[in-house]
Subunit: 413 residues, 2 copies
């Protein structure tokens, strides 16, 4: 049997509900998607509950499930994925925090939780922090810049714990918080002490930084603090290649998703111009995906723009993002060739009128070039998907891909 390559395309937050200004169509239903609909001649479509019916997935838990790992067993919080996505190399036991460059006053009261959000000096500030604070109380400290104001903070050492509270007060006008242990272990107490000492040092370094003097001179809020939240302890996850046999690579510009993929041992590519936003360079991502297909069994192409538009309540941008996904898939197929199966779905619904993730099932399309019994539906959307033959959960996806790419191994004799 001819083993086929696999293109897995996830439109983040793709799923939606009826939208009144789209004449009660969903964005996917409304969008012009000639490529996707042309695949329907040899596709099964249907609905997927990423985690389970009604359960509202995060992007991280959903992607874990889609890649075949039950999040109830393997999910350990977002922080370590974000750090991995920002470029950290983590070992089991490292504790990662999500962080924000922020502006605080002399009393450590938060004035701007994002220090203006676009921080040109972020890379340099991170470099300065790494130089001046290599360790605290024997614990190794590393800072990684994500996008905009986002910073990951990683602690490495023995006996660390993620059972510590945030220093981020999550509100402007409040003083930064002491991190406190949230269980009675010595390791939690120790970690909280490290975090509090680290916070003092960060303020000393940043408030004296030349880069912030420059920002102030330009009338910009100084990035003089890193607010820390969401401690998560890193554990090594099973690798996609080991549990599925698939050599996989990912194209994504979103730190969280990049981190999930790196955790699973996948190569991750973020081509220049890919932003994770509505302004991303879709064709650059398509070219990267087509390129990776040559050396990999599975290429995962992640598009964040659908979710970003949904959270902002921008219906037209969501429609446009879907139309660009359509062109992107077309570009990959044109570039790579058609001897490939394609699975297109969302990691969750983010109904654009709701502006938040929801637990609705998401539409799923599985194109297999030859011989399968096609569902023979004429459009791919949340409504037509109800008439399709697939009714699955996220954890089924890898098995489906293995089966229809002729790569599955028999279970039993």
């Amino acid at each position: 049997m001819n083993k086929l390559k696999i293109l897995l395309v996830v439109g983040d937050g793709l799923g939606d509900r009826q939208v009144s200004i789209l004449n009660a169509k969903t964005p996917l239903e409304y969008a012009d998607k000639p490529v996707i609909n042309s695949l329907l001649r040899s596709s099964m479509i249907g609905l997927m509950d990423p985690i389970g019916p009604g359960i509202v997935p995060g992007s991280d838990t959903s992607h874990l499930a889609i890649f075949g790992l039950d999040p109830r067993k393997y999910y350990n919080g977002r922080g370590s994925f974000e750090a991995l996505g920002a470029g950290a190399i983590l070992s089991g036991g490292d504790v990662a925090f999500r962080g924000n460059f922020a502006t605080v006053d002399d009393n450590l009261v938060v004035i701007d939780r994002r220090a203006g959000r676009k921080i040109e000096e972020a890379e340099e500030l991170v470099k300065e922090l790494n130089q001046k604070i290599p360790e605290v109380q024997g614990v190794k400290v590393r800072f990684y810049h994500g996008t905009e104001h986002r910073v990951s903070v990683v602690l490495s050492g023995d006996n660390l714990s993620d059972k510590v509270s945030d220093t981020d007060p999550h509100e402007v006008g409040k003083r930064i918080l002491n991190s406190e242990p949230t269980d009675n272990t010595l390791s939690a107490k120790r970690t909280a002490n490290v975090v509090n000492q680290l916070t003092k040092l960060v303020y000393e370094v940043l408030s004296r930084s030349q880069l912030n003097e420059k920002r102030k001179a330009e009338g910009l809020p100084p990035a003089n603090m890193v607010l820390m939240r969401g401690a998560s302890i890193h554990r090594d996850l099973p690798k996609l290649k080991d549990y599925s046999g698939l050599k996989g690579a990912a194209v994504s510009a979103t730190a969280l998703i990049k981190g999930v993929c790196r955790s699973l041992g996948m190569e991750v590519v973020t081509p220049p111009g890919a932003t994770g936003g509505i302004d991303t360079d879709y064709m650059a991502k398509a070219r990267a995906a087509a390129d990776l297909l040559k050396e990999n069994d599975l290429v995962f192409l992640h598009i964040k723009a659908t979710d970003a538009a949904s959270h902002d309540g921008k219906v037209n941008e969501k429609v446009r993002a879907i139309e660009m996904i359509d062109k992107t898939i077309g570009k990959v197929l044109d570039t790579y060739g058609s001897d490939i199966i394609v699975l297109f779905t969302g990691d969750h619904a983010t109904p654009v009128e709701l502006k938040e993730h929801s637990g609705d099932p998401v539409p799923i399309l599985l194109y297999v070039p030859t011989n399968i019994i096609s569902d023979n539906l004429s459009d791919f959307n949340e409504r037509s998907a109800r008439k399709g033959s697939l009714r699955v959960v996220g954890l089924n996806i890898i098995d489906l891909l293995l089966n229809y790419s002729n790569r599955a191994t028999k279970y039993g004799a």
Copy 2:
């Protein structure tokens, strides 16, 4: 996001099969149900397997599942639910029995397992038992009157067990049985001894009761024994509020279901006139439900009449009960208002020609007032439900309700 209230309506034993005298329609299909069908304009419908495909649920196991607790993990027998439903307050470790007032002869041979069934003096007999038998061998004993001939018996003390056999011979003409331990533990041996001693004392008290002298004078069978069966040890269950965030209340007149709801920490209301039978005061239940919706997130409205009619094989009564459920839902919505989601289903099928519970899937309707993609079917019944988009198990229900009432919390980031 606007959090919606939740009305959960369960028609006990609602599900059915084709009935010949209804021209091969099911009772739900045959019934006139203008309110329910009017909800279809913005509803998803489908099928639910309360426990799993083909598994025949009891009402207790099914309700546990529908409320989100896996009965395989949490179900411990019916006795403690019945006792709770009859008004008992139980602590972990208490052992509850289902009991019948019965008539026995001088040799303790059962003459009438229900002592005539309608026992006017039941409340007073229970009072007399509680006064005269406060304890046996250091174990506290309490009796609670259910409906008609039904009595719950609760033992409280250290080292009790539910691994004991019934004293109820389950047959007229047989002598009452000695309770025997069904495992080798000392606690089972001790509990069986207590039950046997208790049975002697119950006979002494009841056979000498003035109330039974009066019954005999009136030509009625004396209620001179309590047959005990179905020992179950009580354990505290997780509370709905804790595991779902939902403040819930129930309207039911059925001891078993009231007990399940009380176990989950729900307020339970049985309005005057609610009987658990075909003669129940539906509108009183509707008013109670509408009233409870003001102070609760979820109101559970239980209607037993569908199941009662099914067990009796009374097709027309089942149809009539469904038509009354329709009016009841209409009354709740008229009284409370429409800013609410409604889930209507059964806890199992009791096909009226079978007269027993079956493991068929039950139809389920989920009405969400705005924005969802409606399944656009014109009638709600076992046949049309197969064309709907829902295919779930009981354990999915709470997650679905949380999602579509905008009350779910995201799992992950």
